[in-house]
């Protein structure tokens, strides 16, 4: 178990180094940062001075090492665009993205899984067929279109909910939160639905197909023959057996919720790191882009580690095999 965790952590570090290399090469190949930083009338001497001061004349391996060491300390340098420390820029923006992603994930999990269980248990019921049909819409409509449609209905026509921004936020330490004001909560609704809808339909369809499969197994039939209650069978025996694939997908989707909130944040003018990234791309603000890349890499690595550990909690077959084997169906 411990050996497994250590092995996974070493792998994680290797993955992060690879991501770091990609992030670092951004600096080398996306234009000359000096041009982006200085005005047209800066003299060649000043440019060379600046180049020397920023360490851009060192050999690439030295620069890479310096980049990684600084990144590990949370130091990503100054933004080319605002000349503020990148770390502070991201820290300012990340609460908005995390809160949005959290709400979207909760929306997807708490509605998607019960809907999947229901449609899996009663696949012939008319409401299951309706859910199935509607979920096709959720899975095939692009996010920006859903966002714009929601804005059109609930903000423009009905005036129920705001169409952009976070509303009023409350500052707790360096963290700003939406959860403590009415306008903040109202502002969360539309973006969360927009961001979570695809995940919701994906989870629903996954849980449904897993449930259908599990309900056909012998141990469910035997559980019925033992006279267990439907609740014990459906939620104890059946749902738990669908969890391994559901955890895998949920973990990956949680990562992509945060990573790819970019579209939703753009549609709703949500001041999160996705929006920060878009602005940075427009300005070729390499330090911010590199930091964003590393942050998302770290996020995925951490989530995957947690997912792997959850497998052990759920499936006893893995625990006794020392973690070497993967889940191999039922």
């Amino acid at each position: 178990m411990i050996a497994f965790i250590l092995r996974r952590m070493l792998q994680s570090i290797a993955v992060l180094l690879a991501v770091g290399l990609v992030a670092f090469s951004l600096f080398r190949y996306v234009g000359d940062p000096i041009n982006a930083m200085v005005g047209q009338d800066t003299s060649m001497e000043d440019r060379a001075l600046l180049r020397e001061k920023l360490g851009l004349n060192d050999s690439p391996p030295v620069q890479f090492l310096r980049f990684i060491v600084n990144a590990a300390r949370g130091n990503f340098g100054l933004s080319y665009r605002t000349s503020e420390p990148v770390g502070r820029l991201i820290a300012e923006r990340i609460p908005a993205t995390l809160e949005l992603s959290f709400c979207a994930a909760a929306f997807a999990l708490f509605i998607g899984i019960p809907m999947g269980v229901y449609t899996g248990l009663y696949p012939r019921h008319w409401s299951s067929r309706l859910f199935q049909a509607v979920s096709l819409i959720g899975i095939s409509l692009p996010t920006f279109l859903i966002g714009i449609l929601l804005i059109l209905i609930f903000a423009v026509s009905l005036h129920w909910l705001p169409s952009f921004g976070r509303g009023e936020t409350v500052q707790i330490g360096w963290w700003t939160t939406n959860f403590l004001t009415i306008s903040g909560l109202k502002a969360l609704i539309l973006p969360s639905i927009t961001l979570g809808l695809f995940q919701l339909t994906l989870l629903m369809r996954l849980v449904r197909s897993e449930m259908l499969e599990v309900m056909r197994t012998d141990y469910i039939k035997f559980a019925r023959a033992r006279g267990l209650t439907n609740r014990a069978i459906n939620f104890g025996h059946a749902l738990k057996n669908t969890l391994v694939p559901v955890i895998t997908v949920t973990g990956l989707q949680l990562g992509s919720l945060i990573a790819f909130a970019i579209v939703t944040e753009t549609v709703f003018a949500w001041p999160g790191i996705g929006q920060l990234f878009i602005q940075s791309v427009q300005f070729s603000d390499i330090p911010v882009m590199a930091a964003y890349l590393l942050l998302i890499g770290l996020l995925f690595v951490v989530i995957n580690l947690v997912v792997d550990l959850l497998y052990f909690v759920v499936d006893p077959r893995l625990r006794s095999q020392g973690g070497a084997a993967r889940v191999s169906g039922h």
């Binding site: 141990y219 559980a223 019925r224 033992r226 006279g227």
Partner: protein
Amino acid sequence: MAAASNNPPLLEVKNLRVEFPTRRGTLLAVDDVSFDIAPGEVLGVVGESGAGKSLTGNAIIGLLEPPGRIAGGEVKLEGRRIDNLPYEEMRKVRGARIGAIFQDPLTSLNPLYSIGRQLIETIQTHLPLSGAQARKRALDLLKEVGIPGAESRIDHYPHQFSGGMRQRVVIALALCADPRLIVADEPTTALDVSIQAQIIALLKKLCREHQTAVMLVTHDMGVIAETADRVAVMYAGRIAEIGPVRDVVKHAKHPYTKGLMGSIPSLGVRHDKLTQIDGAMPRLTEIPPGCAFNPRCTFRGQRCMVERPNLMSAGASRAACWLHDRGGVGAPVTKELVDA
């Protein structure tokens, strides 16, 4: 340990019909099957795959897989009809009054829960016991079915047991609430031959001790001969012959049973070739008129082609064959089949 005929039967199955609606019409998979099981009796049910023996068992425990359904007849347990009970009522019968054992112990247990948890859950569903009492009962059951080191094994997961041990756990699960009847559907088919004998001996011993009746569904005549008090032979959804096991094995009354017995090799006798019944059991869509066995029967007469025989007395057994019709209209009577 033959059933005493003056006792009221534990299980009565009368004119049971199970059908499957399909796109091309309704299939009658179990056709007019009737039999009784006395308290403590072991009834073997044999037949080829598709003869309807497992479906009969599933119909009794109320777990026919849709779209299969009971289309007629009745099932009575301890004098009470159970085939038309609402789901929730039948759930309380399953596990408590009727236990079930399925074919494959490797897939009968939920892989994610320890066997102790599965036992305790079943016990507490049917008996008003506290957690500690239920655990005590679970331990006793595990010891009874011969799990060595039950105290340390109770918290183990199914994958940590061998196939034979898992089937013992399955038997313990079936016995949780001390049911009066166990429907065992091919309980040894998935096991090694050496383990099969152990499991059958265990089942026999436990049922004798608990006075539990067993409906033992199998295609293994050897298991039946060793275990059952009576045997029912099924063919194409109907009972071809039913009677005390010794009579059916030694003095088969139905030509099909005769053929079935002929296909079992016996020790000490050199066989160049095993006897086999020519042809195959008809598909449910193509059951011929008259006796369903007539295309394969060497004794068939005119009547067998047009009129379906019901079970009639034949010595100590009953057989669905016109050879035993007292009117004697059927085929030329062969002495070996009619003599008791």
